[in-house]
Amino acid sequence: MVHVALKSISKVYPNGVRAVHPTSFDIQQGEFIVLVGPSGCGKSTLLRMIAGLEEITEGELSIAGRVVNDIDPAERDIAMVFQNYALYPHMTVYNNMAYGLRNRGMAKADIDAAVSTAATMLNLTEFLTRRPSQLSGGQRQRVAMGRAIVRNPALFLFDEPLSNLDAKLRGQMRIEIKALQRRLGVTSVYVTHDQVEAMTMADRIIVLNGGRIEQIGTPAEVYHQPASTFVASFMGAPPMNLLPAHYNGNGRVHLSETIHIEAPVSADYSGQVKLGVRPENVGIVDSSHPDALRFDLEFVEELGAGRLLHGKLGDSGLIVHIPHTDPIPGGEVYVGLPKSALVMFNHETGMRL
């Protein structure tokens, strides 16, 4: 069931800057959508338009079947978690959570019940009488979550909620938020620039670049079948290898005059292409392998769980990820690029072929 629908939503600021080009997508009931992209890609603007904090220049936004373009943020039945928590500094934790409910005219007993349920869920019960300044970063983050939960909204909006936390806490909160969202079943839109958060939390990822959608898909789709070179290099650390090559439409890709392999797709195109392959999909092979390609190993990066081999394939750089159990190859090294793991992009447009 479609829960939130964006129809050609765009944003042009008064100074003429177009932050979001007409964008359309649907969000299903209970879905966890992550908007990801580099700074200035329009992801926050898009979220703020959904929240009603930013006016929608053109297009139509509906939440739970109701067009909300001209409806106040307070009446859109949404709850938002902000990057810097945005707690009310002069109110106790209890009042921070209860404030929105009081304004909705909820009975005192119901407010008490809602707040104490949320507090229990988030381990905040003992902090209810404290003020935000007396809490740690992680606790404040949980209060911000609590303030969103008690409202029991139709839609959760998260604006980079974890970017102010340290790495360890971030990993933990990531799991907590995801588990909570699963449990409550509330449709969520989550904005982040961290591709790990996007991969781990999303049901579907929307990759944005320059105010446009590059790709919408499940984390696996976005990772393995990137729609463009932008997505290929933005998602994954290290990013996907993109090797310049030439494609004639005859079934083979030429990485150089002498190196050529079977093309992953048979596209009706000929010209310059980029051949994409994830570092972990490149295999170290024996020189006798039919598709073995000579790899000039330059240096090795130790990651603990694995190793990154940096080097050259012909004239272009290539990163190979091997498990830590494999030995570091010595002497002449050969790699194989399995056809099933290859993707090919149009060199000019950057789109996948």
Partner: protein, 293 residues
């Protein structure tokens, strides 16, 4: 707090000496002198003085005129503080929302601060001038005859108006910076929690401005009590007789016009005690206030 320790007393005393000397010569010595004179009846021409004990104080408290001035000062301070704070707050809230021409708008609002109190007083005299002051003529349209310097209450109203007008810019600047230090995201979170802008102001914005407002309250009380001297002097100059004046102005009138140095010193001592009380009150409350950071 970092603590430094010295082995001998000599060096720290030397380092503190300039400051101590300045405070001593310019603050404590005159203050002590005032306290001393307040117990003497001084000859107007400086030929001698007689110790009279608490007589000067007793005389003041028994004087109906002194009590009247004290009551006026209280009312004046209250009105000036109330109006200059509330008008400045309204202006700051509005200025905070201005999107185009913000700087020009703010600069225009701050300009008045450059007007020195005595000049403000003269401007007041001109505006409320009995003959053809624009404000006098404006009020005449409603059938009210405004008589500056003649009618006690008219003069008082002009004083309050000029003092308020002169002090709005300071309050405005502080309120505006207070408003701008409230994080945007807190205001946005409130927008999602509450649809009424007025309620949001009183629930979120105003409490977050409270530390600023309290600080300004003290500043305004001190201003109305002490810094309005020049303005009042310009307004009532020449005929202080039946006109309203503040305690500070009365110190001057009694001491320099009336040549009653003893009585005037006693008045200064009372004002010093008042400032002391105000300061203690301020620090007490400030200490208890929670700093929202």
């Amino acid at each position: 707090m970092k603590r430094a320790s010295f082995n001998q007393l000599g060096l720290p005393v030397w380092l503190l000496l300039p400051q101590l000397v300045i405070i001593g010569v310019f603050f404590y010595w005159p203050a002590a002198h005032a306290v001393r004179s307040s117990f003497y009846l001084e000859d107007p021409f400086g030929f001698g003085s007689t110790f009279v004990g608490w007589d000067n104080y007793a005389g003041l408290l028994a004087s109906a005129q002194y009590v009247k001035v004290a009551v006026f000062t209280l009312g004046f301070t209250f009105l000036v503080t109330f109006f200059s704070l509330s008008i400045a707050l309204v202006l700051a809230v509005k200025a905070d929302k201005v999107i185009r021409g913000t700087r020009t708008y703010r600069t225009l609002l701050m300009w008045v601060y450059a007007v020195a109190p005595p000049v403000a007083g003269f401007l007041g005299v001109m505006v409320f001038y009995q003959g053809n002051g624009p404000m006098t003529e404006f009020l005449a349209l409603f059938g009210y005859e405004f008589r500056l310097g003649v009618n006690y209450y008219d003069t008082a109203a002009a004083m309050v108006a000029v003092a308020t007008w002169n002090h709005i810019p300071v309050n405005f600047i502080f309120f505006l910076s207070g408003l701008q230090s409230i994080p945007q995201s807190v205001k946005e979170a409130a927008m999602i929690d509450n649809r009424s802008g007025t309620r949001r102001f009183w629930d979120i914005t105003f409490p977050l401005l409270a530390p600023t407002a309290f600080f300004l309250l003290i500043i305004n009380i001190t201003y109305a009590l002490f810094d309005t001297f020049g303005m009042i002097d310009a307004l009532v100059k020449g005929e202080p007789g039946n006109n309203p004046m503040t305690l500070v102005y009365k110190v001057y009138v009694d001491g320099f016009r009336g040549n009653d140095l003893g009585g005037s010193s006693a008045q200064s001592v009372i004002l010093m005690v008042l400032v002391l009380v105000l300061t203690v009150f301020q620090f007490r409350v400030m200490d208890r206030r929670i700093h929202y950071t």
